[in-house]
Assembly symmetry: C2
C-alpha cells in the first residue's frame, strides 16, 4: 500500500525566450523513507538570499500578474543579455525557499519521535505546503517557540555564527562587517558583544548607525562619510581586525577594508618593505547586494586574499562538533540573540502578487515578509 | 683589532619634495660574524621585481643625469599624487638588488669553508661591490658554473618552483600562468614539461606564442584573440587547471581565469545551483605589470579566491625539507631548466645612465641587463 499526499508548491521558471514565470504547482509526495519526515510548512521567510533563485535576473519593473484566480501566475521579462549567465537553469521549474518551519505530519520508521513536533528546516524548496526531507535537516523547536520563531533559525544564525567560527579557525581576533544593519548584522553584533569579539560595523546611513548603537554596537563607520577611509582605519586600529565579511560584493569596499588593515599593520613596521606588511588580511564576499564588479586597488602589498564565502560550503566542511555547538546555541538563544522580525505574513497566493515581490526586491525598505503556505 | 673593508653601493632615495635620486655611496663593512660572509659581487641582474624599489613611482620620462663624473647621480621627478603611497620609504637612501653572485673574500669562523668560493646570494642590497650576509643566504655554485650562471638562481627559479609546490600543497593538478613568455614563464614551462604538470600559458602576442611553442609548451592562449575567453576555457577544460598565477594584477584577467574554471566545473554539475559549483578556484597575483585595479566580475559563484603571492613569504612558511629540495634542484639544473639570458653586462656607473634604466622600464623590449659592480 502506498499513501500519497499532495500540496501546492511555488515554482520559478526562466525560459530561453526571456521570461520569468512564477506559479503554484500541485506536487505529490510518497510516504517518507525510514529517516525522512513530511512537514506541513507554516512559516518561511523571503530572505535576500532567496531572491536570486526566485526572481533570477528578471527586470522587476516588468512584473505582472497572469493566469486565473484558481491558477495565478506572475511573469516578468528577462533582458536577453542576462540569459547567458543563467543558462544552467533555463526551462527548469525550480522550487524556492531556503528555510522554514512547520509541523511534522508524517515520519519514517526510524524517526517516529518527530511526529506532531514543530521543527525548523533547512534545504530549499520551502515555499510549499508539504515538504519531505531528512530528519537530520530539521531541528525540533523548544516548547515555548512558535513556528514564526523557528522560521529563520538556519540561514542568518548559522551564517553569523559561521563568521565567528571562520575568524577563530583562521587565527583572527576581530571582524569587519559590511551592510551591518541587516538582520544578520544585528545578530552578529549580539554574538560579538556576548563573546567579547570586537566588531567594526560598516553602514550606509546615520539611521542605521543609530539603530546599531541602540543595540550596543561599539565600532560603527558610515561609508557615506567624506572621512570614511580614515574613520575605518581608526576602527580597524582599535579592534585589531584582520578579517572582513562583505555582503555587498561590487565596488571598492573590499579593497578599502584591506587598505585600512594594511595601514594599521604598517604602523608597527620598523623597516620599509616595498611588498607591504606580512600581516595576513582576508575579506570574504558572502553576498551580492551590488552585483557589479569587485574593484580592488592593490595598495596593500601581497599578504591578502579576497574570497567567496558560502554558508552551505562552510557547513559541509565544518567539524560535526562545531555544527552541534552552533545548532544548540541557536536553540538556546532563539528568543534573544537570534530573534527575527517580520512585518507581514502572507499566503503562497500573495507571494505571486507583483507589488509584494517588488517590495522584497527593494531591499532597504525594512519590509520583511513571512509566507505561511498553509493559509 | 678590527679590519674594515669598503666599497661602492647603489642607493635609491625618494624625497618628500618629489624627487627620485640614485647615487653611489661608499659603505664600510666590519669583519663578518661567525656565520657571515663578505662577498665581492660580480653579477647581479636588473629584474622586473627590482624596479619598484629602484625607481619607486618616478616618472621615467624625466630621468636625467646629475652629479659629477666622480660622483654620478641619476634623478627623476615623482608626481605629487604618488607620494602618499610611498610615505614609508621617503627620505631613506635604500640599497637595491634582490639577488646576485660573486666570490667570497672573507668568511666568519664557523663558515671558513666558503672562502674563495663562488656563491649565489639572496637578500637585497646586491647592487654593491661588497655584500656582507649570512652564509645560509648563499649557495655555493657548482664547479663549472660562472657568476653569470649563478646571478639569478633565486628569484625566478624559486618562484617557478614555488608555484608548483603551492599547486601541490593546495590540491590542484594543473596551472594557468599569465605573462607566460617571461624568463620566469619559460622556466615554469620547462619544470612542468619535465614533471608532467599541465600548464596553460597566457601570452599577449603571436610572437610570444611561437617562442613558447618552440620550447615545447602545449597549451598556449593569446589574450588579444577575439575568442580569448572561449579558447582559455577549452585549455582549462583540457588541463583541469583550478589554480592560476598572475603577474599582471590589474584589469579583468584574474576574473576571466576564474570564469573559465567555473564554466568547466559547471559542465559536470547534474543539478542547477545558483551559488555556482563547489570546485575551489584560486588565482594568485604575484606581480603588478599593470598597476591599475584588479576588476573582478563575479560570474563564478562563491567558491573562489584571489590572493597575493610573494616569494619571500612562501619561503618563510616553507618546510625546510621542501626548501632544501628546491635549492638542490636549482643547482642540479642550473644550465638547463634554470638558465637565464642577459643581453648586456654593465657597471654600477652604467646603471646610473638614463637610457639604460629607461630601457629596463620598457619591460617588453627583451633587453635584460646584468650589473657587474666589480667592473
Amino acid at each position: 500500500m502506498n499513501n500519497t499526499m499532495n500540496g501546492l508548491e511555488l515554482r520559478s521558471l526562466t525560459t530561453s525566450g526571456g521570461q520569468l514565470r512564477l506559479s503554484l504547482e500541485t506536487v505529490n509526495l510518497d510516504e517518507p523513507g525510514p529517516e525522512e519526515l513530511v512537514v506541513r510548512v507554516e512559516a518561511t521567510p523571503i530572505n535576500p538570499s532567496d531572491l536570486g533563485l526566485l526572481l533570477g535576473p528578471a527586470d522587476v519593473s516588468t512584473l505582472r500578474a497572469e493566469g486565473t484566480p484558481e491558477q495565478p501566475a506572475l511573469v516578468a521579462d528577462i533582458p536577453q543579455q542576462r540569459l547567458a549567465a543563467i543558462r544552467a537553469r533555463l526551462d527548469l521549474p525550480l522550487p524556492v525557499g531556503n528555510e522554514g518551519a512547520g509541523t511534522v505530519v508524517s515520519a519514517g520508521s526510524d524517526v517516529q519521535h518527530f511526529l506532531g513536533k514543530k521543527v525548523g528546516m533547512l534545504g530549499g524548496g520551502m515555499y510549499t505546503q508539504l515538504r519531505k526531507l531528512r530528519a537530520q535537516d530539521c531541528v525540533v523547536l523548544p516548547g515555548e517557540a512558535s513556528v514564526e520563531d523557528g522560521a529563520s533559525i538556519f540561514i542568518n544564525p548559522l551564517t553569523s555564527l559561521g563568521f565567528v567560527e571562520t575568524m577563530k579557525a583562521e587565527g583572527h581576533k576581530a571582524i569587519v562587517h559590511t551592510a551591518a544593519a541587516s538582520n544578520l548584522g544585528q545578530m552578529l553584533n549580539k554574538i560579538c558583544l556576548k563573546d567579547g569579539i570586537p566588531l567594526v560595523n560598516i553602514v550606509r546611513s546615520e539611521a542605521q548607525a543609530a539603530m546599531l548603537r541602540d543595540i550596543g554596537a561599539r565600532y560603527i563607520v558610515n561609508s557615506t562619510s567624506p572621512e570614511f577611509q580614515a574613520e575605518l582605519t581608526e576602527a580597524v586600529a582599535e579592534t585589531g581586525a584582520t578579517i572582513g565579511f562583505d555582503a555587498i560584493g561590487g565596488g571598492k569596499l573590499a579593497g578599502q577594508i584591506l587598505q585600512a588593515m594594511e595601514i594599521v599593520a604598517s604602523r608597527s613596521m620598523t623597516t620599509y618593505n616595498r611588498y607591504g606588511s606580512d600581516t595576513f588580511k582576508q575579506v570574504y564576499i558572502y553576498g551580492g547586494l551590488d552585483t557589479g564588479p569587485t574593484v580592488i586597488d592593490r595598495t596593500f602589498g601581497f599578504t591578502w586574499s579576497v574570497s567567496g564565502w558560502l554558508l552551505f560550503l562552510f557547513l559541509q566542511k565544518a567539524d560535526p562538533e562545531v555544527m552541534a555547538r552552533m545548532r544548540q546555541r541557536v536553540i538556546d538563544e532563539l528568543k534573544t540573540t537570534f530573534v527575527s522580525h517580520y512585518t507581514k505574513t502572507i499566503s503562497l497566493n500573495d507571494a505571486l502578487k507583483p507589488e509584494i515581490l517588488a517590495d522584497c526586491e527593494r531591499k532597504a525598505t525594512g519590509e520583511k515578509y513571512l509566507i505561511n503556505p498553509s493559509l
